[in-house]
């Protein structure tokens, strides 16, 4: 029994079936709860995809919101154009292709960031990705077709529970299988020791770029879902704070721990809803949490079991 449950394909199937079943009941659901649950699904996709870059591969990207915004804008522009030219009945069929194109363009952006990043490490990479996110924001602010500073509005509300969670399940599946495959062990090797990995014949550059491209692809998908969930987007939504929220999820869950990261995504999405009373302290609490975690529990809050030996270089 336990072996069957460990088969990732079966788990994916179960997750998709569960997503479809809950999707059927979504119409009866309170709109507020449904919105929060979709938020959770999007957060899971973001956190799991960033986990591939920051956790498994040991890079440090602060530009996840940038990739997300690329996906969000591209997908929203496609559906808005489709809505105008083709009408409502065709629109439903455009949603998935639009998400996919958004994800692919975001992946292309990931490639663009990934290639210079191969010369950089650690803190430099963090700053470059941060800067890249800012550049994307400045570009969207100035592009007329993307609505400039006021952004896009009137995006059709098409993100439902079913698609959100099917895509979340696929993201978890792809990242999980990738990392646990023979090829994917390379990500962890690059994380543990880049020099040793390359002396074993692995190409760290390729792994880093692959991580960036796949991570950016799913961030773009999450962005597309986000745009069709909130129906309005503007460049300010995808600022550094958005990237940082995802980074907090990954750190809290324990970098490279898929289960912990998903749990952290759920908790950090729910927490502001429950803690409305202290909403103004939210960012202060996040910041304190990060400092405390780094000093006392760098392996993450939800990571039990064997400790990884800390790297000292």
């Amino acid at each position: 029994m336990s072996r069957i449950l460990k088969d990732p394909r079966l788990l994916l199937l179960i997750a998709i079936v569960a997503a479809v079943i809950t999707g059927l009941g979504a119409d009866q659901m309170n709109l507020y709860y449904r919105g929060v649950i979709i938020d959770i699904g999007i957060a899971i996709i973001l956190a799991v995809s960033l986990n591939l870059i920051n956790g498994h591969t040991g890079q440090f990207s602060l530009g996840h919101a940038g990739f997300m915004s690329v996906g969000a804008y591209v997908a929203a522009m496609i559906t808005l154009a489709a809505q105008k030219s083709m009408g409502a009945e065709v629109l439903a069929w455009m949603f998935l292709p639009a998400l996919l194109v958004g994800g692919l363009v975001a992946a292309l952006a990931g490639l663009l960031v990934g290639i210079p990043s191969l010369r950089l490490r650690g803190d430099y990479l963090a700053i470059v990705t941060l800067g890249f996110g800012e550049i994307i924001r400045v570009i969207f602010q100035n592009v007329e077709a993307a609505g400039g500073a006021s952004g896009l509005s009137g995006i059709p509300r098409m993100t439902g529970l079913t698609w959100t969670f099917i895509l979340a399940a696929i993201a978890v599946y792809v990242v999980g299988c990738l990392v646990n495959s023979t090829y994917g062990r390379g990500f962890i090797a690059v994380h543990d020791d880049e020099v040793a990995a390359s002396s074993m014949g692995l190409n760290p550059t390729r792994y880093k770029v692959t991580a960036f491209v796949i991570g950016a692809f799913f961030a773009g998908i999450a962005g597309g879902l986000f745009a069709h969930h909130k129906t309005t987007i503007n460049p300010q939504v995808f600022d550094f704070m958005k990237s940082f929220e995802v980074v907090v999820m990954v750190i809290l869950g324990g970098m490279g721990r898929t289960g912990g990261v998903i749990l952290a995504a759920i908790i950090l999405t729910l927490a502001p809803e429950f803690l409305r009373a202290v909403a103004e302290y939210r960012m202060i609490i996040y910041a304190l949490l990060i400092i405390f975690l780094m000093i006392a529990r760098p392996q993450g809050l939800f990571h039990f079991g064997r400790k990884r030996k800390p790297l000292t270089h």
Partner: protein, 303 residues
């Protein structure tokens, strides 16, 4: 012609502020090999220290005046030095010898903690505040360029502080110790240099310069708010990388260059709306084509 040279004066004033902050990044990078993300926020705290100190100091010195200005500058620099030392003591010291990424994440945490605490109603509040005038205003010209007092003072103070810093680093015992720690901290500690003391001193010195930068920024642009440290800090970091991180003259040069480029770009039609992206574009280009910066020397990575 006149407009172009006038933009140069504006660019130098902005660049001076970048230079003062960039030096803090570079010095901390020199001794600890990490980017102190919270440095931009120390700069912001410097501005606000000046904002809140000015009315207090005005009780003894009438403001705006030269004496009062010197008092505000000195007090702010001392406060910022203490803040820098305390940040290092509480947040970074427990993480000595941990992976660099851990320290980096902590630094981001400290930066956000300062920003959001200061934004809260109980502290400065999120709204923009008007920096009080500290110096009597006036205009004068020098070699065909016209300066106002503030621009002249900003440039002058930056040059004086840079000279003082160079003296400290090159000619004093503690400066020699700083260079030793930066070169090889393990060997330095074997020679009887207290690493912890030198690191504290470096943070204090860098933060004092950031505080001075905060006052000069407030005098030049008059509007200050709790999040201003983010973009100015990041651009100052870009300046440090541009000049070659770990290199003091490089940081000053990078700051001035970046200030001038940004000011000219801001004056050009068509480019001006992209002004905030320019620094990052420069950063990416320099990291791709000359990662050691303009004045930096190549470092060989040891395994």
């Amino acid at each position: 012609m006149n407009e172009i040279s006038q933009q140069l004066v504006n660019g130098l004033a902005l660049g001076s502020v970048y230079a003062l902050i960039a030096i803090g990044y570079t010095m901390v990078y020199g001794v600890l090999r990490f980017i102190n993300f919270a440095h931009g926020d120390v700069f912001m705290l410097g501005s606000f220290a000046g904002f809140y100190l000015a009315p207090q100091i005005a009780k003894w010195f009438p403001l705006p005046s030269w004496g009062g200005w010197v008092a505000v500058m000195a007090a702010t620099m001392i406060i910022c030095a203490i803040i820098g030392i305390v940040i290092e003591l509480l947040a970074y010291r427990p993480l000595r010898n941990r992976p660099k990424l851990t320290v980096l994440i902590t630094a981001i945490g400290v930066s956000l903690l300062i920003q959001y605490t200061c934004q809260h109603q109980a502290f400065f509040g999120a709204s923009q505040k008007a920096f009080p005038p500290l110096l009597p205003s006036g205009n004068f010209s020098l070699g065909g360029l016209s300066f106002n007092t503030t621009q002249f003072v900003v440039l002058g103070v930056t040059l004086v502080l840079l000279a003082a810093l160079t003296f400290i680093v090159k000619k004093t015992r503690i400066g020699m110790a700083m260079r030793a720690v930066s070169h090889n901290s393990a060997a330095a500690s074997l020679m009887g240099i207290s690493n912890s003391f030198i690191i504290s001193f470096t943070f204090g010195l860098g933060s004092a310069l950031a505080g001075a930068g905060g006052i000069l920024y407030g005098m030049t642009y008059t509007g200050i708010e709790p999040l201003m440290g983010v973009s100015v800090g990041l651009k100052a970091f870009v300046a440090a990388v541009l000049g070659g991180i770990g290199n003091l003259p490089g940081a000053a040069l990078g700051g001035l260059l970046l200030g001038i480029v940004e000011t000219y770009a801001g004056g050009m039609s068509g480019v001006s709306t992209y002004r905030d992206g320019i620094a990052f574009a420069i950063l990416i280009l320099i990291l791709i084509f000359k990662p050691t910066g303009l004045l930096g020397s190549k470092q060989i990575e040891k395994v």
